[in-house]
């Protein structure tokens, strides 16, 4: 079976993230960028399925030139080939536009399954897998913590508030995985060397048949009116426990009418 894994380069959560003052959009140049941790679990899930059932893993990303770094990382882990959707016209795309561009790229690929991370650490909209499934007219099975394929049926455990559900779905489908799904392998030296000769195909907006009026922040389907750094939270009262601090906390909560 052939699997496409969506990967994304995101600002490192250990570095400070800023919104541009001019338009309230994430300043991706101001931060360190890394492969989203959850996406390496998506790559791992794809590799495990192709190791069991045959076929190839293609990694797909939409992003600027430097996003090739995340593709190389996935290829070094063992993915077979990579597709990079790259065009200045995509700058500032929102989740709906991103899903449209990804759907167009997927239209040029063969796949039985699409795997994504459940939620990126930057945009946190968690909706791209659902949007993509809707555009492709196929099911989405999200927040998956265990996954198997049986013929043309997918069986999964889906994490929900307070437990999990067992879900089945026909394939092709869009799956998003949680951090419980697996521990991703580290690329070894051989993998890193092999990655250098694996094919990376690039698609521009024009290659995908997307008109200039459909892409990018200027024609985004929602607009940011204003963005303000939240005033830093002020540290309040701090006491050393003299044996009565528990009672003092209760008094504090009571005085604020919280208990």
């Amino acid at each position: 079976m052939n699997i496409v894994v969506l990967v994304k380069q995101v600002p490192d959560t250990y570095s400070e993230r800023k919104l541009r003052e001019s338009d309230g959009i994430l300043d991706r140049d101001a931060t360190d960028n890394v492969i989203d941790e959850i996406d390496s679990r998506g790559v791992e899930a794809g590799l495990q399925l192709t190791e069991a059932h045959g076929g190839e893993v293609t990694v797909l990303t939409l992003g600027p030139d430097r996003a090739t770094e995340v593709l190389r990382k996935a290829l070094a882990m063992g993915a077979h080939k990579a597709v990079h959707v790259v065009d200045d016209a995509f700058a500032g795309s929102d989740a709906l536009q991103t899903s449209a561009a990804l759907a167009a790229a997927l239209g040029k690929l063969e796949f039985d399954l699409i795997i994504a991370g459940n939620e990126s650490t930057d945009g946190r909209t968690a909706s791209v897998p659902a949007m993509l499934a809707e555009r492709l007219g196929i099911p989405q099975v999200t927040f998956v913590r265990a996954l198997e394929i049986d013929g043309t049926t997918l069986k999964a455990e889906r994490t929900v508030d307070g437990g999990y559900t067992e879900v089945t779905s026909p394939i092709p489908a869009v799956v998003s995985v949680t951090e419980k799904i697996n521990e991703p392998r580290y690329p070894n030296f051989k993998g890193i060397m092999a990655a250098k000769s694996k094919p990376v195909t690039t698609f521009s907006a024009e290659d995908l048949g997307l008109a200039a009026g459909d892409t990018g922040g200027a024609v985004s389907w929602s607009i940011v009116l204003d963005a303000a750094p939240r005033p830093p939270r002020e540290a309040g009262e701090k006491v050393n426990d003299d044996g009565s601090a528990g009672t003092k906390v209760a008094e504090y909560l009571a005085s604020a009418r919280l208990i």
């Binding site: 909209t125 909706s127 927040f143 508030d161 419980k180």
Partner: protein, 318 residues
């Protein structure tokens, strides 16, 4: 006045707390219309509570398969309701399912979507708190019908009671594009509220020291009627199950009161809780970063402070 659709979040024959909040938000923009998706009879049973919470009309999108498929019945029902009413906005809870329904619906209606709003005004301008509350962003949908998912506990006020007239809604689900729910497994959460929607959350961190010691955290949560959370360090150490993790890679919470016990306050943890209204922290280390954002901090041993607090809370309850 235009209609505003609200997808009713319900469980086990009762409204979830976020539903009246969504109706309150809807009443700022227009005429609140509730959409109930469920097995036959669900809408009739929920109608009195929905009327009380401000729903003028209650659309009943009901069928046996409505509970069997994942997300797609709700998308189909909202699309049908939108075709019937041309609403000014569509509001949903910012749960896992709610955000996915919003995403699929936005594609189907060719409309813009805003996720995880913490406020919405009369013009459907949504306020979001991003990067764990370090920025406040106001946005507006600029294409189609605004679809906005709203975080629980964030909308103030309520809508005036309305008629709550139940009206059947025709809708059809594409089985080929749907995943099927085979079985639901509930992991023991006892009588505690859902972590994401609780108005009080008591969390334990590495300082709790062991799985057994988490009973101290649980006792305080129970005295306060709150949910139990855990930091990533506590979860990774095996002290508490993963589904209770608060933070960037876990649940984002925004309760009235957040109590952090033995949590240092790494940025990834703060990202998941710093929009809480009041933060209380107990930590042995007086330099712990959690104190920088605490309204009331105690430098001390959580095993002295938490039980005393539990007792004091119980005493006040009488």
């Amino acid at each position: 006045m235009s209609d505003v659709l609200v997808l009713v979040d319900h469980f086990d024959g009762a409204l979830r707390k976020v539903t009246p909040e969504l109706l309150a938000a809807a009443s700022r923009i227009g005429n609140p219309v509730a959409v109930v998706v469920g097995a036959p009879g669900t809408a009739e049973a929920l109608a009195p509570a929905l009327a009380e919470a401000g729903a003028a009309t209650v659309y009943a999108a009901e069928s046996a398969e409505a509970t069997q498929y994942l997300v797609t019945p709700q998308v189909a029902a909202l699309a049908a309701a939108a075709a019937a009413t041309s609403p000014a906005a569509i509001l949903l809870a910012a749960t896992i399912d709610g955000r996915e329904i919003a995403g699929r619906l936005a594609v189907r209606l060719d409309s813009g979507v805003i996720s995880d709003a913490v406020d919405v005004d009369a013009d459907a301008v949504a306020t979001q708190s991003v990067f764990g509350g370090s920025y406040t962003v106001r946005s507006k949908v600029s294409r189609g019908t605004p679809i906005i998912s709203i975080r629980a506990n964030s909308i103030e006020g309520s809508a005036p009671a309305a008629a709550g007239t139940v009206t059947p809604l025709e809708f059809s689900v594409d089985a080929a594009a749907s995943a099927t729910i085979v079985a639901v497994h509930t992991e023991p959460a006892g009588d505690r509220p859902d972590l994401g929607a609780a108005s009080v959350v008591v969390s334990g961190g590495r300082g709790v020291g062991s799985a057994e010691n988490f009973t101290v955290v649980e006792a305080l949560a129970d005295a306060l009627g709150g949910a139990v959370g855990a930091s990533r360090a506590a979860v990774d150490s095996g002290y508490y199950p993963h589904q209770f993790q608060v933070g960037q890679t876990g649940t984002t919470v925004s309760p009235q009161v957040y109590v952090a016990l033995g949590i240092s306050g790494a940025i990834q943890h703060r990202a998941g809780m710093q929009t809480s209204k009041t933060i209380v922290a107990v930590n042995k280390d007086s330099d712990a970063p959690i104190f920088e954002i605490s309204d009331f901090g105690v430098v001390g041993d959580l095993f002295d402070v938490a039980p005393q607090l539990t007792q004091a809370v119980q005493a006040r309850k009488g």
